[in-house]
Symmetry: C2
């Protein structure tokens, strides 16, 4: 439990400095200014006091029961200082100093050294190379951090490795006048991890919404497990940067990591039910809504405005994001026609006109909150000088505090001239925005979370009709032979063991055997060359399709024997399937996480449209259906222009079997079922490849 870190009863600062412009001084100042509820112990071998607070020569001299120690000393002194803390019984250390793993091997040594000491003494470490934590809980008031943004008390918690972005987000809330709960930026994260903090925040009653920023996940499987559990209780809002290769390089250069393409993080977010954002502004604005608003029961939004254009902008964004702007019920319409100005527009959006007063707004809000047509209210409110805007704000505030349905408000004003109006809304915790699009996007986030929360992806199917052992044997044989790619026979045997249908085939060595096999399968057939040295069969002229008689088969095999000349050369003779829709299925190991499962259209579509989608193992039936629905050419699967479409359940069955296969056998590095042909009534793999790693 991280309670002693996030709710410390006492804080010491090793490296407490008398110099105003130093981190060792600033941390103390921040604690004092923020009204920390416990004692502060500056540790400084040379000074008697720091900022007027009695200082101690060593942590060993300070009083006992210290929950948190800040360390603001050069990296090389940290291991020894951690040992002292261990002797003293300190519970947590926040290492603000840098100079550890982020700078390379030398720093890495120091990091390993202090971590060993910390583990020895059961001390938890935040950082190193980090800002620290803040807790605004009135009982705690811990500003264990050297930054400068002083938050109001609120319900949003922020956690990120990157101090820079955590701080940007923090400043964003502050600029909006929205409070926060807990802030944690853990830099190198050598001990306490992001998932561990998210877990803690999930259990923290004061936290209503968790905001995080990542550039990649260190321990994706733990993140997924924790995020999934927490996201079912409260919204987790996340943004990932380093999406472009250039961005990934920029990220690597400041974390000392490796730049790589990262498909998995978004899939993890989706699977875990984390609400993803592409824009930090949008994330901030959404979090502000989650902080005070209930989750809508559906996606029907009512709009009330006193000026036209901004409601048009809001409508576009809401509808574009999948919300609906349904008409008013008959009852509401009648009521509003009787209550508003005759020129008012009594549709959804309702335009009460710039001259609309507090009673008009109140009548609209009450009517639309009672109207089952609506799950949420979007309010646009310009402050004309000729109406009593404070009264309007008071009505909005009062309705908001009833908490009946979620509301957001776009307040079009000059905050200086209309300071009181603004204050009324802010104090009542109405999520208040300065642009119609911002308020609309915050509303769409509420609606998206409602979707996520009510979504049930189900449990993965456990197929019983599989032969796990025989696959293990094949893979072990491959491993012993130090193969990268398995021979075709093994590949098809593996598919058969997991009930994945492939076109009938025989493996032969000679042309005569080939003809016999073809006669047996029935013409037309395909002949594919198979040898350890042949990876890309088609490129090497090792595939001949649509062979219609014995002579063709004989001739084809003999020609390939002449041309390809491999000692282990054999031939796969397979039934040729001339029609069917070409699709592609595959799996790829994702270190620390399992496998990515791919599905998409085959042929030129893969190349031109990149019409493929991914998911992470284990893929459930619901997710497999979702995959089929997510490709661009999805309607073709269902059938267009009177065609019947393909056997979708056959495809989703293969996706799930594939998921089970690679989960059962992590040794499988990459698996391609390409092409697979889909027909009205069946799905058949016609070529497959498996590579293994051990």
């Amino acid at each position: 439990m991280l309670d002693s870190l996030f709710r410390p009863k006492s804080v010491a600062v090793i490296g407490a400095s008398t110099k105003e412009l130093s981190i060792g001084n600033r941390v103390i100042r921040n604690l004092v200014d923020f009204g920390f509820k416990g004692p502060i112990f500056p540790i400084n071998p040379k000074a008697d006091e720091v900022r007027g607070i009695k200082a101690y020569k060593s942590i060993l001299d300070a009083p006992d029961n210290i929950d948190v120690v800040h360390m603001v000393i050069p990296a090389k002194f940290v291991p020894m200082a951690v040992e002292d803390c261990g002797k003293k019984g300190v519970k947590n250390i926040i290492i603000n100093s840098g100079g550890f793993s982020e700078i390379g091997p030398e720093g890495d040594e120091y990091e390993k050294a202090f971590l060993e000491k910390a583990r020895q003494y059961n001390i938890r470490v935040l950082g190193p190379n980090c800002q620290g934590i803040i807790n605004t809980d009135p009982d705690v008031r811990a500003y264990c951090n050297f930054t400068f943004t002083k938050p109001d008390t609120g319900h949003i918690s922020i956690v990120a490795l990157s101090g820079g972005v955590a701080e940007v987000i923090h400043q964003g809330f502050s600029a909006m006048g929205v409070g926060t709960r807990i802030y944690a930026s853990n830099g190198n994260a050598c001990d306490i991890t992001i998932p561990e903090i998210i877990q803690y925040l999930g259990d923290d009653d004061g936290t209503r919404v968790i905001v995080t920023y990542v550039e990649g996940l260190r321990d994706p499987s733990t993140f997924m497990k924790v995020a999934r559990e927490v996201a079912s209780k409260k919204p987790i809002l996340a943004m990932k940067a380093g999406r472009t290769m250039q961005g990934a390089k920029a990220a690597a250069s400041h974390t000392g990591g490796l730049a790589k393409e990262d498909l998995a993080t978004d899939l993890i977010f989706k699977k875990a039910g984390v609400l993803t954002f592409m824009d930090e502004g949008e994330l901030i604005q959404a979090a502000a809504a989650f902080a005070s608003q209930p989750i809508p029961k559906g996606n029907h939004v009512g709009i009330i405005t006193n000026t036209g254009g901004p409601a048009v902008i809001a409508t576009d964004i809401l509808v574009g994001a999948g919300a609906e702007i349904p008409p008013l019920s008959q009852e509401t319409e009648t009521l509003l026609k009787d209550s508003l100005f005759p020129e008012a527009s009594v549709n959804n959006p309702v335009d009460v006109l710039a001259t609309g007063n507090a009673a008009h707004y109140r009548t609209c809000m009450d009517a639309m909150l009672s109207d089952d047509s609506f799950d949420a209210l979007y309010i646009n409110f310009v402050t004309p000088f000729f109406v009593d805007t404070d009264s309007i704000a008071k009505e909005i505030a009062a309705v908001n505090q009833q908490g009946r349905k979620p509301m957001v408000c776009n307040l079009m004003t000059d905050k200086k001239q209309w300071a009181e109006t603004t204050k009324i809304l802010m104090q009542a915790q109405v999520p208040t925005y300065a642009l119609p699009g911002e308020a609309a996007r915050a509303m769409t986030a509420l609606v998206r979370y409602q979707d996520i929360r009510t979504r049930d992806i189900g449990e993965p199917m456990a197929f019983k009709d599989v032969d796990k052992n025989s696959v293990s044997e094949i893979l072990t044989r491959g491993k012993n032979a130090e193969l990268t790619f398995l021979p075709a026979e093994d590949v098809y045997a593996i598919l058969r063991s997991y009930g994945i249908p492939s076109a009938n085939w025989s493996m032969v060595k000679t042309a005569e055997q080939g003809v016999a096999a073809a006669e047996n399968l029935g013409y037309p057939v395909v002949v594919k060359a198979d040898a350890a040295s042949i990876v890309h069969k088609s490129d090497m002229g090792g595939v001949a399709v649509n062979l219609k008689n014995a002579a063709d088969v004989q001739k084809t095999i003999e020609e390939m024997q002449d041309r390809l000349k491999a000692d282990d050369l054999r031939f796969l003779v397979q039934k040729y399937l001339p029609e069917g829709l070409e699709i592609i299925l595959g799996a790829k190991a994702e270190p620390g996480l399992g496998h990515l499962i791919m599905f998409g259209m085959g042929g030129i579509y893969v190349e031109v449209l990149k019409d493929v989608v991914f998911n992470l193992t284990p893929v459930t039936s619901f997710e497999a259906q979702e995959m089929l629905d997510s490709i661009q050419l999805s309607p073709i699967l269902k059938g267009v222009r009177g065609q019947k479409g393909i056997f979708r359940n056959g495809v989703t069955d293969i996706i799930q079997r594939l998921s089970q296969l690679v989960s059962d056998h992590p040794m499988i590095q990459e698996l391609d079922l390409n092409p697979t042909l889909a027909f009205e009534d069946r799905v058949v793999v016609v070529d497959a490849r498996i590579s293994i790693q051990f």
Copy 2:
């Protein structure tokens, strides 16, 4: 010229009121508070003075030479008041009052009535149902408007019908601390139009960037003409709302117009070189950059930061929008390695570290501005308490004022604690943002405008080998016969007259004639039924393809005769082309503007992917190429997997001929060349349809 409106020497207010909370009072207060340079004449039949300013009983009693009169009186009194203004020689009237065409027929009457008077006396009218104008020019200081946002002097001009959105945008600049130049919101726009105002702003030296918001264009062809001319001189930034059908409905309900799908506005923006935005926040932030920054010469952006994560976010956005983040030149790299802290990251982004000082920032900026690798600088600047942030801001300000290359700055700070640092940047007109993404998107707008400005779409080709007269004759014949759809013969004759190749064909009446025609064309052939009553041939079984001999043709025609039974039934016998890539071309009249020209992939792609693009007549060669490059399946046109691709010049030729055809003959309502088959060496229309309207 609108000079007397936007630079009035005197302003009168008809409906000047002594009541503080009235528009007639507020306009006077605004003029006074804003320091209007000329005299103000309140007109009020009952009061001797309004806000301490001598009032006149009637406009006729006021002094002469009045440039602008505000009218804040009920609609029914407006026509008479306009007549009085006419007698007085007033130049412009701003009608703030509503109750005109926006409320329906009754108001429309008043609007027509006053407009007639205004025209009679050569008075220009802004509005009615509008806010008015603002001009911040120190020589003018005209706040002829009842709103409340008091702008600083600046270089951004805002124009929009919608007062609500114009005001939102205006407030956005104000909140950013960015000044504006001219503001105009013209409501119903019965006389002075948006294009006319844009033209004026194009000639106004104080305006560096024009911002507009539209929900649809009233006079699209004038808008296009004006915007194209002005956009070549200075950037026009535009946002269109009412993009979704629901949004269009919301727009219609507040303007009293009709909701309709609007494809044309975006095409107009593109053709005119208007920079389009989907988000009002992004538009505001981009305008702030254009207001003070030069246009970059290219898309290479250098990034300087003192904290890592935000630079990653910026990199993602810049790269995602097509900018490049190139490496430092060798020279710059060497220089920075010598000048910055050893732990600093000397790549692009350059991370000077949070401890980086003013000299570090200055060295980076100077080096990167002198480095030809970069066309623009993105600066990220967090204000740690332990460095002299004012000095850093001063260096950024100084470099910005040199105006060597465009710069934007993301300032991560608490504006209250770091008020001085913030002020230094603001006063030096450094475009300063509060989020890394905002600054990055503003930078991408600068880069986009550079693209637009240097783009040359060329002039439309005028094909000489066309027979305009014979098409006119065919169309006139169709008109006289009151046809909607032209008969197939006419359609193919029209295509031939404009050099658009179609598959060879003959029109026959009997099966015997059909066989003779087929023998002549060579098998295989297609037979298509043709009659006035048959619009969708295929759906009615009126198309038979791939007929390989005389017997098939005979039988097909006889069966169609039995089945379709139309007196005017005839048959188009056409060469059957079995292969080729199915594409679709078309044109559709766009009232007040010309025609939309469409190009896309045919077959299921139209249906499933909607892989079609549009442009407006006249389409130039450059634009036709762009259309081919813009579809999703574009690579297929060039050839994938070793295929040769299609004859692109054949397609672009047809697009341009089509453009000329419909421009020469506006009577053509809709024209479809569907399908058209594209081969390696030729392009052939195999079915076509033309409808006319008169």
